[in-house]
C-alpha cells in the first residue's frame, strides 16, 4: 500500500509541477505575443503542429536529448502541454470584442490597465479551458513517462502488463482514473466559481 501512495504522490507531483511550470511560461508568452505579431504567428503555427504529435512520440523524443528519469519526464510533459496552454491564453486575450478595447482606450486606460482589467477577465473562460485541457493531458502523459523511468502510477501499469498481472495493472489504473475524474470535477467547480457569467 505504501508503494501505491508513493506512486500516487510521484504521479501527482510530476503532472502538476509540469502543469505549473507550463502555465508560468505560457501566460507571459501569450502576453508578449499580444504585442509581437511575429512571435505570435510562429508560436501559433507550432501550437497547431504540436496538437498533431502523439504524446508518446514527445516522450520518446526527449530520451535521446535528455536521457531518462524524472527531469526529462517533466520536460516531456511541459513540452506536450505548453503550446495548447499558450494558444488558449493567447486567443482568449486577443479575441475580445473591439468595442471593449475601444471604450477602455477612450476613457483613458493605458495598455497595462487594459490588459489586466479588460483583456484578462475576458479571457478567463478560455484560459481555464486551456488549463483544464492541459491538466488532462499532463495526467495521461505522466503515466507514459513511467516508461522512461520517472516512476509513478504508470510503473504499476506497465509492470502488470508485461507480467500479465492484472491486479497490478488495476492498482495503477484505478487511481489514475480516479485522479482524472476528480480533476475534471475540481476544474469545473473552479471554472464555474471564477468565470463571471456574461
Amino acid at each position: 500500500m505504501s508503494t501505491l501512495f508513493k506512486a500516487v504522490g510521484e504521479h501527482l507531483f510530476l503532472a502538476y509541477s509540469a502543469l505549473f511550470v507550463a502555465i508560468v511560461i505560457a501566460i507571459p508568452l501569450a502576453v508578449i505575443s499580444l504585442y509581437n505579431r511575429y512571435l505570435a504567428s510562429i508560436l501559433l503555427i507550432l501550437a497547431n503542429l504540436a496538437q498533431a504529435i502523439p504524446s508518446f512520440a514527445v516522450v520518446a523524443i526527449v530520451v535521446p536529448l535528455l536521457g531518462i528519469g524524472f527531469k526529462p519526464a517533466i520536460f516531456a510533459i511541459i513540452l506536450r502541454i505548453i503550446l495548447p496552454l499558450f494558444k488558449n491564453t493567447y486567443t482568449g486575450l486577443k479575441n475580445i470584442d473591439h468595442n471593449y478595447i475601444d471604450s477602455a482606450q477612450g476613457i483613458g486606460l493605458n495598455e497595462r490597465e487594459i490588459l489586466f482589467y479588460v483583456r484578462f477577465p475576458n479571457a478567463y473562460p478560455a484560459i481555464f479551458a486551456g488549463v483544464k485541457f492541459a491538466a488532462v493531458i499532463a495526467n495521461s502523459v505522466a503515466i507514459i513517462t513511467s516508461l522512461i523511468g520517472a516512476g509513478g502510477l504508470g510503473e504499476f501499469i506497465y509492470e502488470g502488463l508485461t507480467n500479465l498481472n492484472m491486479s497490478k495493472v488495476l492498482k495503477g489504473a484505478i487511481p489514475a482514473i480516479i485522479i482524472a475524474v476528480l480533476l475534471d470535477i475540481g476544474f469545473t467547480f473552479i471554472e464555474n466559481k471564477f468565470t463571471p457569467e456574461k
Partner: protein, 373 residues
C-alpha cells in the same frame, strides 16, 4: 500611483486645422477645419461613412491623423500623453462598450480607481453621477450591464464618460440604437443634464431631428469633407448647396403649422407600449427593461387610463401599478397640431396620447416644437 493632472479646467476653444486621415485609398477625413467654442454643443451630422466618428476620434487621439493639427485651448493635442489626454476628455462610443464583467460601480469607477481614489470617494462619485442620469443609485450601483436595458446602459455610458469631470465631452451617436420614443425621452433628459453641467460637447449623429433638437451649431459632413458649419436657422435659410438643402428640407415641410394634424407629428405606438392596470409593478418594470422602453400606456378593459414612466416606477416600491399612472391629455388624429400644442403648453404637459378608438400615437411637446423650428 501617479495622479494625472487636469489638463484644462475649462474649454475656451477646440481648433481643428486642416485635419486629414486616410485609410489606404479612402480619405475618411479630408482637410477639415473647424472651431468649437467653449460651452457649446457642436453637432457633426452626415450620412453613414462620411467620417464623423473618425473626426471625433482625432480629438482624443484614438485616431492618429496624417495631416493638420488640433489645438485645445491653443495647445497641440499631440503634445499631450494620449492616456492623460483621454482622461481629460469624456468619450461615449457608438456601441456603449460597458465592460460585461464589471458592475455599474466598477464600470464608472474604473478610471478613478486607477487614479488612486479611495473606495468611499468612488462610491460617492458614482452615486452622484447615477442621480444625474436619473437612475436610483441603490437600485443600480451593483448591477451588471446585462441586467440593464439599452437606455439604462446608455445612461451608464454617459456617467462613465463624466466621472473625471472632463470639460470636453465627445459623444458618438449615443442614442442611435434606441427606440424612437425612448430616444426623444433621453434627448430631453440630456438637454437638462447639459444645461446643468455646462460642458463643451461634440456630438455625432446622423439624425437631423436630433441635430436640430440638441445642437447649438451643426457641422455637416459628406465624404470626409466639411460642407457647412452654421447655426440651425442659417442652415434652413442659407443651405450651402443642394446636398444640405436636401438634408434640411425634411424639416421645412413642417413649417406650415396650420395645415398639420396630430397624426402627422405623433410617434406611432405599437403593442409593446401597452400595459394592463392590474399588472404588478415589478413585472411591468421587468417588461419595460426587456423591451427597452421607458414609457408605457396603461389600459383597463380596453380603456385608456394614462401613462407611466419607468423612472417613476423605481422611486417607491408599490405593487399597485395604478398608483404610478399619470393622466394624459387626449387628442384625436385630426385635431390640429396648433390646438394640441397650445393646450399642452397651457397645462404644462410634456406628453399627450392620440386616440382613435384606442391609443395610436404619442405627442411629445418638445418633439413638436423642434420640428417646427
Amino acid at each position: 500611483m501617479a495622479i494625472s493632472k487636469k489638463l484644462f479646467n475649462k474649454i475656451d476653444c477646440v481648433k481643428i486645422e486642416n485635419v486629414t486621415k486616410k485609410y489606404g485609398h479612402i480619405t475618411a477625413v479630408n482637410q477639415i477645419s473647424l472651431e468649437v467654442c467653449g460651452g457649446e454643443l457642436l453637432i457633426l451630422l452626415g450620412p453613414s461613412g462620411c467620417g464623423k466618428t473618425t473626426l471625433l476620434r482625432t480629438i482624443n487621439r484614438l485616431v492618429e491623423f496624417d495631416e493638420g493639427r488640433i489645438l485645445i485651448n491653443g495647445k497641440d493635442n499631440r503634445d499631450f500623453d494620449p492616456v492623460i489626454l483621454r482622461k481629460n476628455i469624456g468619450y461615449v462610443i457608438q456601441q456603449i462598450g460597458l465592460f460585461p464583467h464589471m458592475t455599474v460601480r466598477e464600470n464608472i469607477g474604473l478610471v478613478p480607481k486607477m487614479e488612486g481614489w479611495s473606495d468611499a470617494q468612488i462610491t460617492q462619485k458614482v452615486k452622484e453621477l447615477l442621480e444625474i442620469v436619473s437612475l436610483p443609485p441603490e437600485k443600480f450601483i451593483n448591477r451588471r450591464p446585462k441586467e440593464l436595458s439599452g437606455g439604462q446602459q446608455q445612461r451608464i455610458g454617459l456617467a462613465r464618460a463624466m466621472v473625471m469631470d472632463p470639460s470636453l465631452l465627445l459623444m458618438d451617436e449615443p442614442f442611435g440604437a434606441l427606440d424612437p420614443i425612448l430616444r426623444k425621452q433621453l434627448q430631453e433628459e440630456f438637454i437638462k443634464i447639459k444645461e446643468k453641467l455646462n460642458r463643451t460637447i461634440i456630438f455625432v449623429t446622423h439624425d437631423i431631428e436630433e441635430a436640430f433638437r440638441l445642437g447649438d451649431r451643426i457641422a455637416i459632413l459628406k465624404e470626409g469633407k466639411l460642407i457647412q458649419l452654421a447655426k440651425k436657422n442659417e442652415l434652413l435659410v442659407n443651405p450651402a448647396d443642394d446636398f444640405i438643402a436636401d438634408i434640411v428640407d425634411s424639416k421645412k415641410k413642417f413649417k406650415h403649422l396650420e395645415d398639420l394634424t396630430t397624426s402627422d407629428i405623433m410617434i406611432p405606438l405599437d403593442k409593446k407600449y401597452f400595459f394592463e392596470s392590474d399588472s404588478s409593478t415589478d413585472l411591468v418594470i421587468e417588461s419595460m427593461v426587456r423591451k427597452d422602453i421607458e414609457l408605457g400606456i396603461v389600459m383597463q378593459k380596453g380603456k385608456l387610463l394614462g401613462y407611466i414612466k419607468l423612472q417613476d416606477l423605481y422611486q417607491k416600491s408599490d405593487k399597485n401599478l395604478k398608483h404610478f399612472i399619470k393622466q394624459s391629455m387626449v387628442f384625436e388624429p385630426l385635431d390640429s397640431i396648433a390646438l394640441a400644442l397650445s393646450m399642452m403648453k397651457e397645462k404644462n404637459e410634456f406628453i399627450a396620447v392620440v386616440v382613435e378608438e384606442k391609443p395610436i400615437g404619442i405627442l411629445l411637446t418638445n418633439e413638436i416644437l423642434s420640428r417646427l423650428i
